[in-house]
């Protein structure tokens, strides 16, 4: 068995030598997940905000439902969308199955509950005087909203990273909705699943490491924007 360190080196060499197929797979992974998270964030933030600041009937139920959605297996999300998008399904006309768009839809569905639940927890942690001070200092609802988000940015960033981590690494729904078709819908996690299903473990690990390196770079970049990383005490 090729050793772990060896395959790491090989993977990084591949990465930096500009192996086209590898970069294509990476490109598909990030493209799909970026689009998904970009689409999911605004409504998830709105939901989190509504759960935090609005009294409305069914609020608690909604919170429960949302946390429950966290436990929906990716395969079930994938399956449900699959049934909707398949030829026999109600949205079969759109012919979206086995396209990147279908993967984006799956990843939106997967990231939304994480973003909403963790966003809710983060906003709940912000002192209500933040909102009040903003409003009383003349900020309109929109500006006050963005101020509260700024105050909660540490927790919201954690939410973003968790959600992004979940979907960039998620294999069940992507496999089902994208089909893992080379050059079209094969992304890093489905490629890893394929390699390991072939028994090519070191290839799988290598791809995993590629994902890690890229995720780490991204994290480091984001943390620079984040600011308040210092300890509380």
């Amino acid at each position: 068995m090729e050793s772990l360190s060896e395959s790491t080196v090989n993977a990084l060499a591949l990465l930096f030598s500009g192996n086209a197929e590898l970069w294509e797979i990476i490109g598909i992974s990030f493209r799909v997940s970026f689009i998904a998270i970009t689409v999911a964030v605004p409504p998830a933030l709105m939901t989190a905000f509504a759960l935090t600041y609005l009294h409305f009937p069914g609020r608690r139920l909604l919170i429960s439902i949302n946390s429950t959605l966290l436990s929906v297996p990716a395969v079930v999300v994938g399956l449900t969308l699959y049934i909707l998008l398949s030829r026999q399904g109600p949205l079969g006309e759109w012919k979206l199955l086995f396209t990147q768009t279908a993967m984006v839809l799956g990843q939106i569905a997967l990231s939304f509950p994480i973003l909403a639940a963790m966003g809710h927890a983060a906003l709940q942690g912000v002192d209500r005087r933040a909102w009040e001070t903003a409003r009383t200092l003349g900020a309109g609802p929109l500006r006050a909203f963005s101020t509260v988000i700024r105050e909660a940015r540490f927790g919201l960033m954690a939410a973003l990273l968790a959600a992004f981590g979940r979907i960039i690494a998620e294999v069940g729904a992507s496999m089902m909705l994208g089909g893992n078709i080379l050059h079209y819908t094969r992304n890093i996690p489905t490629a890893i699943a394929l390699e390991t299903s072939k028994g090519e473990f070191s290839q799988g690990i290598a791809l995993g490491i590629v994902l890690l390196v890229l995720a780490f770079t991204l994290n480091a970049l984001l943390q620079n924007f984040q600011g308040r990383g210092h300890p509380v005490s």
Binding site: T133, T136, G138, T147, E151
Partner: protein, 239 residues
């Protein structure tokens, strides 16, 4: 401009759970007047100020700030536009002192004007040496000063001050008095809840005492009798 009534409050009620904090609040607030709100701890001063600033919703009653009878949602928006509430324990946004001051500036100003006004506010509040300190780390008095400086920058029509001089040193209290006096002269109305109104006594036009959820008139400097049993029955005031 003086003697305009900015705010009319009629039979406003507010309860928390089973405790009726405000039972029947009647109040008229005139332009350029300063009203002192007394009452023991838990009497409802903060609650009333928050209602008048649009931050808390009354259970019942009428508030009119010049638009007649309108829905609470619209009253709330009007109150938020016209008043500024100075929290009893001010909240500092995560950022420098300068960021906190700039927050209160109206949008329409030019960059130069903004700089100018922030500088004035810092000078007034003695915040220049700590302009780049994180506001979350400030001392109690420094927070209070940032809070007052923000009020000055915002310049609302009505200013609701909740214990503005608590935590302030003697010099800052003097400056606060000067500030509030000059703001009042521009026609701004002030409502002041304070257990230490002595420092601001020259400012106060009328003293009201929150007693069992109602406002009763009282004499300045007698605002906190130990046993309020001899008080007159509640009536309506024009401040």
């Amino acid at each position: 401009m003086k003697d305009d009534i900015l705010l009319t409050v009629r039979s406003v009620k507010k309860r928390f759970g089973r405790r009726e904090v405000l039972r029947e609040i009647e109040l008229d607030l005139k332009s350029g007047h300063c009203l002192q709100l007394g009452g023991p701890n838990g009497a409802g001063k903060t609650t009333l100020l928050r209602i008048l600033s649009g931050l808390e919703r009354p259970d019942q009653g009428l508030i009119d700030c010049g638009d007649g009878r309108i829905a609470w949602k619209r009253i709330r928006r009007r109150l938020l536009e016209q008043t500024l509430y100075l929290h009893q324990q001010p909240y500092m946004f995560d950022g420098t002192v300068r960021y906190n001051l700039a927050y209160a500036l109206p949008n329409r100003l030019s960059a130069n004007e903004r700089e100018e006004r922030i500088k004035q506010a810092m000078d007034w509040a003695g915040l220049e040496p700590i302009r780049n300190t994180s506001a979350k780390e400030l001392s109690g008095g420094e927070r209070q000063r940032v809070s007052l400086a923000r009020a000055w920058l915002r310049q609302p029509r009505m200013l609701m001050l909740d214990e503005p001089t608590a935590n302030l040193d003697r010099e800052s209290r003097r400056r606060t008095l000067n500030l509030l006096t000059s703001l009042k002269e521009t026609g701004m109305s002030l409502v002041l809840a304070s257990h230490d109104p002595l420092h601001l006594s020259t400012l106060i036009d009328r003293c009201l005492l929150l007693h069992e959820g109602r406002l009763v008139e009282t004499e300045p400097f007698k605002i906190m009798p130990l046993s309020p049993s001899h008080l007159p029955s509640p009536m309506r005031f024009t401040a």
